[in-house]
């Protein structure tokens, strides 16, 4: 088992939590894990990227080579496209379609979506919308993670356990909302894959 994952988004959008959840779940299953913050994860408003590698064998490089990533998980559509040079030909892109517009020259949304639709394997979902339905916009990142979960080659309940342990000290309500968010994302992808 091996999964090389690029996590992408804009600083402050919560990709650190996604990395923490996948990482915790991986360690619980005694998998090897390497995570590398490639672009200032604490820089608000800028593009951020993290390399996450999981494997049942020891991992060599902290960085994913070009063309080798199995999965790009992005909480923002333009950011999903930024890391295509890392994607393997069989790789999947899972991205939220909700743009984060904090730069004046942000490209036209239709054109961004056209580029995403050109990809051979992708799941595009409005994670904000689904998170709103659950009652917390803050969980949009977890919705996106849920949508990526079928591609992680990991038991779903391990991700749920990780959410419970990571959000535990924020109270039962936060844990439940995030569990719902994870499930909503997963359901979305399953509907796409088996219509």
């Amino acid at each position: 088992m091996k999964r090389d994952i690029i996590l992408a988004g804009v600083g402050g959008q919560g990709i650190i939590s996604i990395a923490a959840i996948i990482g915790t779940a991986a360690l619980e299953q005694d998998l090897f894990l390497k995570q590398s913050e490639v672009h200032g994860m604490c820089q608000r408003g800028g593009d951020v990227q993290s390399n996450l590698r999981i494997s049942d064998k020891e991992i060599a490089s902290d960085l994913i080579p070009y063309g080798k990533a199995d999965l790009i998980i992005s909480v923002e559509p333009l950011e999903a496209l930024r890391y295509l040079p890392f994607l393997s030909p069989d790789g999947w892109v899972v991205t939220s379609t909700k743009p984060y517009i904090n730069i004046p020259e942000y490209p036209e949304m239709d054109k961004v979506m056209d580029e995403i639709r050109k990809l051979p394997h992708y799941i595009a979902l409005d994670a904000d919308e689904l998170a709103k339905e659950i009652g917390t916009l803050k969980a949009a990142n977890i919705v996106t993670l849920g949508a990526a979960s079928p591609f992680l080659d990991m038991q779903f309940d391990k991700l749920e356990d990780a959410i419970c342990s990571i959000f535990r000290n924020k109270g039962a309500d936060v844990v439940n909302k995030n569990l719902q968010a994870l499930k909503a994302g997963k359901d979305f992808t399953e509907r796409q894959m088996n219509p």
Partner: protein, 393 residues
């Protein structure tokens, strides 16, 4: 390695430096923890002159340090951090340091590298191991991240003859971070590629949060300086360094903590008036105060902005050591009270703020402007914690 470093330091009574290059400082992995080592008992130095570096003593200490080099070299030859791994193909020998070893292995999925490898993790360089590699192989490739430190020192260690490939001969780019792809190419392997980035892509540099008090400070400062030739605002490191970028382009330097004040003073003393320093409250507490004293003593005509957002925002919101004391510190250092102004960096006070800044820029001595408003991320955190506490009660 850290355990080993501490033990080494205790044994030889020398400082040991742990050097981590680029990626290593930003990576994490699952690790097995071992039991923490017991803390050493507190004891006073046996040699009471050890840290008295008067010239006569310092000379002796340096002599002793030089005498120890042979021991350090021997340690390097037998250290488990320096490993000679033989390989059948002697057309190339690889010297590899730190994280570059991970990139090297990445290119061999079965983890069998055909070439002899010397993996170096402890200095001084293990001369004998290097000489063996040099004697057995036709060419040497050096893989190290950051500066070509090992590669350059090989010149002193080895005679001329074999070709040494690395950053200095262009086999590997002279600058920039290493990665598995660069290492693959340096080994003559095929590079791998993904898909190109679509042409519509644009950059997304980090930016100040909307609502950040620094924004209002920069707007006021820019308005006051409008029309003057640019390049006179010396600054420092913190969130406000983003003020160098568009759309503000309000500051012109970020060199080391505290340098905003000393550079502005130097420029003013050389005749640049007005000369402005912009420094964060936390950076001011760390190393702005000594420069301020110097400026006050010389009555240098500078205007210093101490941006007081009540926190150390850039590094994650730690307390700022000068919290609640900035005016007192400035007064204590000797800044005249009437030239210390606390401003409210908000749109509605913009005009008033511009007026005060203008007046102080015209004053031929040290002025302090303190735009004070809490960092919005800090407010958010504070409020959330309050609610959390309320929920628990």
């Amino acid at each position: 390695m850290v355990h080993y470093g501490f033990d080494f330091s205790e044994r030889y009574k020398v400082p040991v430096m742990l050097r981590i290059t680029t990626r290593l400082a930003h990576s994490r992995a699952g690790v097995k923890r071992r039991d923490p080592r017991k803390k050493n008992d507190l004891k006073l130095p046996e040699d009471l002159h050890q840290f008295v570096l008067l010239p006569a003593i310092a000379r002796k200490r340096y002599h002793n340090l030089l005498k120890m080099q042979d021991l350090f070299r021997q340690e390097s030859e037998t250290s488990s951090f320096n490993q000679y791994m033989d390989g059948p193909d002697k057309s190339l020998g690889i010297i590899v340091c730190g994280i570059a070893y991970n990139y090297l292995l990445e290119n061999y999925p079965d983890r069998h590298v055909p070439y002899p490898i010397l993996k170096i993790g402890q200095y001084p360089l293990p001369k004998k191991m290097i000489e063996r590699l040099y004697a057995e192989c036709k060419e040497i490739l050096v893989l190290e991240d950051g500066y070509p430190i090992v590669e350059e020192s090989l010149k002193g260690l080895l005679g001329k003859g074999l070709k040494i490939k690395g950053r200095l001969d262009g086999t590997i780019p002279r600058d920039g971070e290493l990665n598995p792809n660069i290492v693959a190419v340096s080994l003559g392997m095929k590079n791998t590629y993904g898909m190109p980035v679509p042409s519509l892509m644009v950059g997304r540099p980090p930016s100040l949060c909307s609502g950040c008090p620094h924004i209002d400070s920069f707007k006021a400062l820019n308005e006051v300086l409008e029309g003057l030739p640019k390049g006179r605002v010396f600054s420092d490191i913190g969130c406000y360094t983003l003020g160098a970028l568009k759309p503000y382009e309000a500051i012109n330097s970020c060199v080391d903590m505290g340098a905003s004040i000393t550079m502005a003073k130097g420029a003013a003393d050389a005749g640049l008036v007005p000369s402005v320093a912009v420094i964060g409250d936390s950076t001011f507490a760390h190393s702005g105060m000594t420069g301020l004293l110097d400026a006050v003593n010389d009555k240098s005509p500078i205007t210093i902005f101490i941006l007081d957002n009540g926190t150390t925002a850039m590094t994650g919101g730690q307390d700022s050591p000068a919290f609640g004391k900035i005016e007192t510190i400035c007064k204590g250092i000797g800044v005249e009270e009437e030239h210390i102004h606390v401003l409210r960096p908000l749109k509605k006070f913009h005009k008033e703020n511009v007026k005060i800044i203008k007046e102080e820029l015209a004053y031929p001595g040290v002025s302090i402007i303190i735009p004070r408003r809490e960092c919005i991320v800090a407010i958010d955190k504070r409020v959330r914690e309050k609610f959390k506490k309320a929920a628990i009660v």
